[in-house]
């Protein structure tokens, strides 16, 4: 089944079979209908023939009568086995083609006038008397008028000025009448009916519709059981094939996925319109040209029917694909239009809303309320002028109430804004506030209290942190000062012991290192805990780079490094604390002087990417770096595993903390021996 579903050949075969089945079904159904119309299922062949003759003859009888009524005085249906006589309502012979031949069938039919009825109200200038008033003079159509006139209605109240009547327009005579009741109409109708008598000649000397009908019955009668069965079977099979085609729609190459063809990508409504207009065109073609009533006409009709059917099938299959793809509504012009309208409306709404919001709160609400009330007034004035007094009354009550509400809300709004703006000593006044609004005001005050507490806690904790760092720093630095000073004094003493001199030297060196370490440690903890105050000001990075390059020119020269400074011509400005950013650059440049391979170039780039200023330091490391950039920024991690340089291992960590403190980012990339630091800051104009 799956394989069949994916196969194009199977679908083609299915479509062709379906066409054949449709043809069979239609033909069989038509045959069955014809047979049942001729009562072939309840009678024998003879009677069925008679019935077929009668059906045809009565049809012709009507045609002949209508033709006469339209004023055609030529004898109709001359070259047939059919003869007829028309009698007036009074029984006079009006027209006849029957000349007393021997007949096989005779029948008569009442041919009633063709008319159109509607219910209307009619005004009567004078009450009673003339219940029925034929609009044209009754003398013009004496027969009809006579029948219409004598209809007295004693129940009629004589004072009524208007009356509901049946207004009749007769197509045959182009006359109009008014009737008071259905009974009158029926009486008029029957009184004006022509009597048509029809005759079918015995032996059927001419080949016409009647002889054809008889031969058709003779031929079909033998298949009278087969035909309905064939129709039913082909119908069932056709439905099955149709279902198969629907399920196979969209499948290709036995896969489960649904493939849309270009037909399925046409928007649904457009596609439906195309198909519908195609079908309509075919039908219109069929009807418009009037297909000949012979075998060619029928065949052409069948082909047209099949064409329309195929278009319908195409639509159904495409619909099935869309349902399977769940793109039924997405791929639809109307949906798109609807969405577009929605967007336009929404945007318009936003625009309107923004415009309204731009007004002060009170003014805005006055405007809205005014518009609302005006609309209400208009509606009242249009529908009921007496409502205006009521309207004025309810305005007198409503307006102050609404204005009071708005005033209360405005107070809440102002309070909330104050608190949101950081004014934590503001209290929303709950006097004159009622109900929900009062609760809300109290809640706002509670929020403020909560925020107050939180801010105090936070301040306390910040203060505590900074106190702790300061005190620890003091307590460590005081003994360290003594150590450094006394070691220095010891160095100046005249020591005759060589070894003691050596020891003092070690003490001096190590205490200096300890000093540096402690300074850096305190700096690092200050920077990373955010205790450090930041005073941002405009800082032109190009100038800063020049300044730093000048500061480091000699140290770079001594280390045998060449500094290559690249910066854009236009100034790149950021907001930064000058001292912190100097400290950051100082650390990074100091790092380079300490760890770069001598006799190499150090590249220092400044660039601007969008609203970001980017500073990149690049140098070749002297030692092999076995650590990632991220690890190098950890505290106390040093690139040189021997740890014998005079660094504290905190330089990069401090640089990063200080950068972050100023709203920047710092990244380190290690690529082989290339050591690259990237700093990013937000530019200002």
């Amino acid at each position: 089944m799956k394989k069949l579903r994916g196969s194009f050949a199977a679908k083609l075969v299915a479509v062709i079979t379906l066409c054949v089945l449709v043809v069979i079904c239609v033909l069989a159904a038509v045959g069955t209908a014809y047979l049942s119309d001729s009562d072939a299922y309840s009678m024998d062949l003879k009677q069925a023939e008679e019935r077929a003759i009668e059906n045809q003859a009565i049809g012709w009888l009507y045609d002949a009568a209508e033709s006469y009524k339209e004023g055609n005085t030529q004898p109709q249906l001359t070259n047939t086995n059919f003869r007829y006589t028309l009698l007036s309502p009074e029984g006079e012979e009006l027209f006849s083609t029957y000349e007393g031949e021997k007949t096989r069938w005779e029948g008569s039919q009442q041919i009633q006038p063709r008319f159109y009825v509607e219910h209307i109200s009619v005004e009567y200038p004078e009450p009673a008397k003339a219940e029925v008033t034929p609009t044209p003079s009754p003398t013009e159509a004496p027969a009809e008028a006579e029948m219409a006139e004598p209809t007295p209605q004693p129940t009629l109240p004589p004072t009524t000025a208007t009356r509901n009547v049946l207004h009749v327009f007769c197509y045959d005579t182009n006359e109009e009448f008014n009737f008071l009741s259905d009974a009158d109409l029926i009486r008029w109708r029957n009184a004006n009916a022509l009597t048509a008598k029809g005759y079918v000649l015995a032996e059927l000397p001419v080949a016409d519709g009647i002889s054809q009908a008889i031969s058709r019955i003779d031929r079909l009668y033998g298949y009278r059981v087969l035909l309905p069965v064939a129709a039913g079977l082909s119908f069932v099979l056709g439905v099955l094939l149709f279902l198969f085609l629907l399920s196979a729609a969209g499948h290709r190459d036995s896969g489960e996925e649904i493939t849309e063809s270009f037909v399925d990508r046409i928007p649904l409504d457009l596609f439906t319109l195309l198909i519908a207009s195609g079908i309509c065109a075919i039908v219109a073609f069929g009807f418009g040209f009037g297909l000949p009533g012979n075998i060619v006409g029928y065949a052409l009709g069948m082909v047209l029917l099949l064409g329309a059917g195929l278009l319908f099938l195409l639509w159904c299959m495409s619909f099935a694909v869309r349902v399977k793809k769940k793109s039924l509504w997405q791929n639809c012009l109307l949906t798109r239009l609807w969405r577009w309208c929605g967007r336009v409306l929404r945007n318009g709404g936003h625009l309107l809303g923004r415009g309204l919001r731009a007004l002060p709160m009170l003014g805005r609400w006055v405007l809205i309320l005014g518009a609302f009330l005006l609309a209400e007034l208009l509606i009242l004035a249009i529908f009921n002028g007496e409502g205006v007094v009521l309207w004025v009354l309810h305005i007198l009550v409503l307006c102050p109430a609404v204005l009071f509400l708005i005033w209360s809300m405005r107070r809440l709004r102002l309070g909330a804004r104050e608190i949101a703006g950081g004014n934590l000593s503001y209290t929303v006044d709950t006097k004159y506030l009622f109900g929900e609004l009062k609760d809300h005001a109290e809640d706002l005050n509670h929020i403020r209290d909560g925020m107050n507490t939180a801010v105090e806690e936070r301040m306390k904790s910040e203060h505590f942190k900074s106190e702790l760092i300061t005190n620890v720093s003091h307590d460590i630095k005081t003994p360290l000062t003594s150590i450094i000073n006394y070691v220095d004094l010891l160095e100046k003493e005249e020591l005759d012991n060589e070894r003691a001199k050596e020891y003092v030297e070690v003490l001096s060196r190590q205490s200096a290192k300890l000093k540096k370490l402690i300074d850096d440690l305190i700096e690092a903890s200050k920077a990373s805990t955010g205790v450090l105050a930041v005073h941002p000001e405009r800082c032109e990075l190009g100038v800063l780079l020049d300044q730093c390059a000048g500061e480091y020119a000699e140290r770079f020269g001594k280390a045998g490094l060449e500094l290559v400074l690249l910066k854009p011509r236009e100034p790149v400005t950021i907001l930064a604390d000058g001292r912190h950013i100097w400290r950051t650059f100082d650390n990074l440049l100091g790092n380079i002087v300490k760890y770069a391979q001598p006799n190499t170039r150090v590249y220092w780039n400044l660039s601007r990417e969008g609203d970001k200023a980017i500073v990149i330091f690049r140098n070749i490391s002297r030692e092999q770096l076995n650590l990632s950039g991220e690890e190098l920024m950890e505290r106390f991690v040093r690139g040189d595993s021997s740890r014998n340089t005079d660094g504290s291992g905190l330089g990069l960590a401090i640089a990063r903390s200080l950068t972050q403190l100023q709203g920047g980012e710092m990244d380190i990339t290690v690529d082989g021996d290339l050591f690259k630091v990237t700093l990013r800051f937000d530019c200002i104009e």
């Binding site: 630095k477 000062t481 000073n485 220095d488 300074d519 020049d546 000048g550 000058g578």
Partner: protein
């Protein structure tokens, strides 16, 4: 013979300072808290005070404000905090300089010398015409000489020009390219860092701690200026 009052709650530091100062030939008085210092100051004629900030009882800041009520003696703060706010507070209250613990004895002695010289010598000399002063720096544009705390300093012509430019508008920040144009009289074309090199040389000649200048300051990302806030003498 100058008399220096040392006031610190840490006795070892006081005695170390005493040794250094006496080795330089100063007379010393020792106090271990604020009250003692104030008492000594009331009795003795003192030319300089070394005052610790963090002391039990009366701390350095409070002592200084009491002291400043009736004395103009130069005061050098000893601070372990290294907090900028403390430094600024101290300087605003009338301290003349500060030294951060753990200090370098050489630097401390240099600052003591500088303050004493300024206090005893320069205060008396009335400023001449064509003379620019800031901190202990004095530039005489007539004789084209520069002195630091009364001692002549030798500057290159470029350094002299830069210093004169900065001194002419103390407190104003000069961009490196502006300095270059004013001094070299040509467009810098990327030579702005030369200015920074010369400034650094100036600082090495005129500042006790060039890495931590008190007078010739860099405003990072903007330029350079002569800072007048720290130096009360000018």
């Amino acid at each position: 013979m100058y008399k220096v009052l040392i006031c610190d709650d840490e006795r070892d530091i006081v005695s170390a300072l005493k040794i250094y100062l006496e080795a330089e030939g100063y007379e010393t008085l020792c106090a271990y808290n604020g009250q003692e210092a104030l008492a000594l100051l009331a009795r003795e004629e003192v030319q300089l005070v070394l005052l610790d900030i963090m002391m039990p009882g009366l701390d350095g800041i409070a002592t200084l404000s009491r002291l400043r009520e009736d004395s103009n003696v130069p005061v050098i703060f000893l601070t372990a905090k290294g907090e900028d706010t403390d430094k600024i507070l101290g300087l605003n209250l009338g301290a003349d300089d500060y030294v951060t613990k753990p200090f370098n004895p050489v630097e401390l002695l240099a600052r003591v010398r500088s303050q004493l010289r300024r206090y005893t010598q320069l205060g008396a000399v009335p400023p001449k015409r064509n003379e620019l002063r800031a901190g202990g720096i004095c530039l005489d544009d007539e004789s084209k000489t520069v002195t630091l705390d009364g001692e002549p300093v030798s500057l290159t012509p470029t350094e002299y020009d830069i210093l004169r430019l900065l001194l002419q508008s103390p407190g104003r920040v000069f961009r490196p390219d502006a300095i270059y144009r004013a001094v070299w009289r040509e467009e810098p074309f990327g030579a702005e860092s030369t200015v920074a090199v010369h400034i650094r040389h100036l600082r090495e000649k005129l500042e006790i701690d060039p890495a931590n200048p008190r007078c010739i300051k860099a405003v990072w990302g903007q330029g350079y200026k002569i800072d007048t806030n720290d130096s009360k003498d000018s």
